[in-house]
Amino acid sequence: MNNGDVLVIGAGIAGIEASLLLAGSGRKVYLIEKSSYIGGNVIKYEHVFSNLECATCMVAPKQQELLENEAIELLTLSEVLDVKGSSGNFVVKVRKRARYVDLVNCIGCNTCFDPCPVSLKNEFEEGLGERKAIYIPCAGALPNVPAIDPENCIRFQGKDCQACKEACMFDAINFDEKDEELELKVGAILVATGFNAFNPNKISQYGYGKFGDVYTAFEFERMFASNGPTEGKILLRNGQSPKSVAILHCIGRKEKGYCSAVCCMYSLKFIHYLKDKLPEVKIYELYSDLCIPGKSYQKFYEEMKEKGADIIRAKEFKVIEEGKGMVIKCIVNGKESSFPMDMVILAPAIEPREDASKLAEVLAIPQDEHGFFQEEPYIPIATPREGVFIAGCAQDPKDIQDSVAQSEAAVGRILATL
């Protein structure tokens, strides 16, 4: 007898969509998420191309629905340790790390943050903002319940601190909560673990890490975000507004050996971000090939261009210091050109999660040469292991629309076959 329950790994947009559909069909869903919040990469973006809708607002109703759905058991701070069995009858061992904050009692009032004596870089903000050892990644994150990070909380380093517990009026903090190991029985597994951004540190020529005002696209997203570290202000490290900004496409494309499919579009979106806040700013998009496939993206390109940006085909770019400022050197139309620039934004390649290999091993599914999970020929959401499915950027770089389509397709196959 096949078990109809489904395990979904990853609570980004693909995992959320799949969980909601599966629950709607009457299946029990275990949704496990490595971090303390749901929404994945998408909730980091203020606006999405090409409709320029606010991403958090777009996803919030789905997140709310997910949290309220009784057929979906959400396990945050959790990861898969082991999978035994076969399609229809998997036995999955999951480690659920302690949150130390009660999901039911906590009302998300955030009173516990201020008294916490620890302050460190907030990973969610790409290091541009700070957080406490008890924290939610950003305002509006769901579930609206903080987590204590035991690696940085001084109580877990042996100090007698309970500042957060004292501040909490709902008795929601429990330092004694323990990590748990759970055993789940499911019939199918859907992997929707998303992507990482390529680290431009690996290529010195772009000046990332060397110049303060060279940012990755993901850092820039947080800078523009109204719930981000600058509350949406676009500022240089010296606190001033940039007068000229360059966006460099295809960072890491050569190294990775593939086009990441979404960078041209979000780089064009940055013209809207910049012009929205700084109407006078001079913008340069330096690209190699414009990859804007599909029915509505060319129009978006034209709209963005009209807002005022120089969109220039260039190659061999490097960011160097000249005088007191930054200069981009590159080849345009066969000639060496240079562009003095206040701010540089790099559009890095999309790459597999750092722990994709580990998960591939646990699930016994193959990865392709780039480390993405390998799909079956012409069944892009299936793996060679029966009963294990993949969706979203864990399979191949793609945009939100295609990620959602894949997660719906994975649900289609699960419901049709298992």
Binding site: I13, C109, F170, C259, L290, Y378, I381, P397
Partner: protein, 555 residues
């Protein structure tokens, strides 16, 4: 019946209590005569709070309640559930947001208290006008009509058909398989198309739950989610009436006609072919010029019609690479040049495919202002230099455009098309295969240009949406906060039909009034705002309810 109204004010821990003087709010509210019960609670959304609320409603036999707490986004559904559990219709409840809209945004406690009091008074003035709205259930047919027998329609049919779900697959040509029948191989795997396609077609033929109508045509589709009636004309010219619960549209694409742009020489010179013509020639096994000789130099021109159509067709770069492979395999010495503007090879597999194709000795030339001449091509390089390239055969990669009958179908199904004529998805990001008509789905190139793998994904997505929502034996629960049109007030101008995004309003030709289909209405309120006669109201947001609330809030 005498109304008994309960008012509950939530302290939300310190969140509301610290910045709103709840005692003062209570003082004002307690003097309002209709209030039967007035309570404050530390945290109403907690387990204890919900239990208290339920008991209080039941104990006092309350007929309506007002809760002053947080944003409806946060806990309206929570408290509606408590009402239901307590036996009170959940629409006889109003949530007042005194946290986000008072306590959290007004620093001055006195002002915040004043505002909170106003809002509670306004809700109390509104609540007597609330109507109990009852949930409805409708039967729903699990069967599916799939329009289009290409790879997308076939895939959707195979996933959807089962012992308790019949699929009716209507294909306008005489055989299944669509345009893919002409392709020898698929990029980037260079695997044989026929293996993939034949296996799937056999799957359809062997599946007793799929009814195939080749040479068929969908003449009419009426109804709504769960209950459509379609009229299908079969190959034998019979007209059948089919009942289904959902519809999948997978009608594919047409190629842009390069004759519309004379400079490509299509129709003027002998050896200028469109991509589909070349696929056919290659599948026939021989690549020959019209004069019977083998070509020595071949140019593949990308982006034909891109400027005219205004979008990138997503697949042409990849299949142009595939053509170069076909050519190099059959004619190893032939010179192949790709004339392109932007190389669009997104995704993990295509860059390698490009590189490997290039390595077989295929030229890639970035070119603009391309003009096809007799056995030659004139173009301008990126730097602006004019160049000539000799070519005895030219293959054009024309844009993908919607099928010629897309508009007719869109009208019949009441689904929208985008500016380019493709069927418009419900939401660019979150609803790629849904449409504004519930129960009607789109997939494949009918939704937008895409390759085979992505078309198969969309076919799967349609299956996912249908299998998870239209379940055999399960009833549908439509939205209850719908709009309604007063027959007496409607003048029949039909403005509401134009603004309804869900095709939920139809015009009764006999009575000459607009009528709302309550199953399809999602309660957006567009029609209410657009009605010049004030004939339309939205349940739970009626003019009276809102007016009473506003008047009291401003008093």
């Amino acid at each position: 019946m005498e109304e008994k109204i309960g008012v509950y004010i939530c302290e939300c821990g310190p969140n509301i209590a610290e910045n709103v003087d709840i005692g003062k709010v209570i003082n004002v509210v307690s003097s309002i005569p209709s209030v039967e019960v007035l309570e404050r609670h530390k945290l109403l959304c907690s387990e204890g709070g919900k239990k208290f609320l339920k008991q209080s409603i039941q104990e006092h036999g309350l007929t309506r309640i007002v809760i002053a707490a947080c944003s409806p986004k946060q806990h309206e559904s929570t408290f509606m559930r408590v009402c239901e559990e307590a036996g009170l219709n959940p629409h006889l409840f109003q949530l007042v947001n005194i946290r986000e809209q008072c306590a959290w945004i007004i620093e001055d406690k006195e002002k915040a208290t004043e505002r909170a009091t106003r809002y509670v008074r306004a809700a109390l003035r509104r609540i007597p006008y609330h109507q109990p709205l009852e949930k409805r259930e409708i039967d729903c047919n699990p069967d599916v009509l799939v329009i289009g027998g290409g790879i997308t329609g076939i895939e959707a049919s195979l996933l959807l058909a089962g012992p308790d779900r019949r699929v009716y697959l209507v294909e306008k040509t005489s055989s299944l398989g669509g345009k893919l029948r002409e392709f020898e191989k698929l990029s980037p795997s260079m695997e044989s198309t026929s293996r993939l396609l034949e296996q799937k077609i056999r799957g359809v033929e062997e599946n007793e739950n799929i009814e195939v109508y080749t040479d068929g045509e969908v003449k009419e589709v009426l109804g709504f989610l769960g209950n459509f009636i379609a009229v299908v004309k079969t190959g034998e010219n019979e007209e059948l009436e089919i009942k289904v619960g959902s519809v999948a549209v997978a009608t594919g694409f047409d190629l842009f006609d390069p004759k519309e742009v004379p400079r490509y020489g299509c129709g003027k010179f002998d050896d200028v072919y469109t991509a589909l013509e070349f696929e056919k020639m290659n599948a026939g096994g021989k690549i020959l010029l019209k004069n019977g000789q083998s070509p020595k130099s071949i140019a593949i021109i990308h982006c034909v019609g891109r400027e005219e159509k205004g979008y990138c067709s997503a697949v042409c770069c990849a299949y142009s690479l595939k053509f170069a492979r076909y050519l190099k395999a059959r004619l190893p010495d032939v010179k192949v040049s790709n004339l392109y503007s932007e190389l669009s090879v997104p995704g993990k597999a295509y860059q390698k495919f490009y590189q490997e194709t290039k390595d077989t000795g295929v030229d890639f030339i970035r070119a603009k202002e391309i003009e096809v001449e007799e056995k030659a091509i004139k173009y301008r390089t990126e730097e602006g230099k004019e160049q000539n390239l000799s070519a005895d055969m030219v293959i054009l990669a024309p844009a993908i455009q919607p099928s010629s009958d897309a508009s007719k179908l869109a009208e019949m199904l009441k689904i929208s098309q985008d500016g380019k004529g493709f069927f418009k998805e419900e939401h660019e990001k979150l609803g790629p295969v849904s449409t504004s008509m519930e129960g009607i789905f789109i997939a494949g190139c009918a939704q937008g240009p895409k390759n085979v793998a992505d078309s198969l994904v969309q076919a799967g997505a349609v299956a996912g949406k249908i299998l998870s929502s239209v379940i055999p034996g399960k009833k549908l629960e439509p939205e209850v906060r719908t709009s309604e049109i007063s027959k007496a007030l409607c003048v029949g101008c039909q403005t509401c039909l134009e603004v309804c995004a869900y095709g939920a309003i139809y015009f009764d030709e006999i009575k000459r009034v607009s009528v709302v289909n309550e199953i399809l209405c999602r309660g957006c309120g567009n029609c209410v705002a657009s009605c010049p006669s004030g004939a339309i109201s939205l349940k739970h947001f009626t003019a009276t309810q809102i007016h009473q609330e506003v008047v009291e809030a401003l008093r």
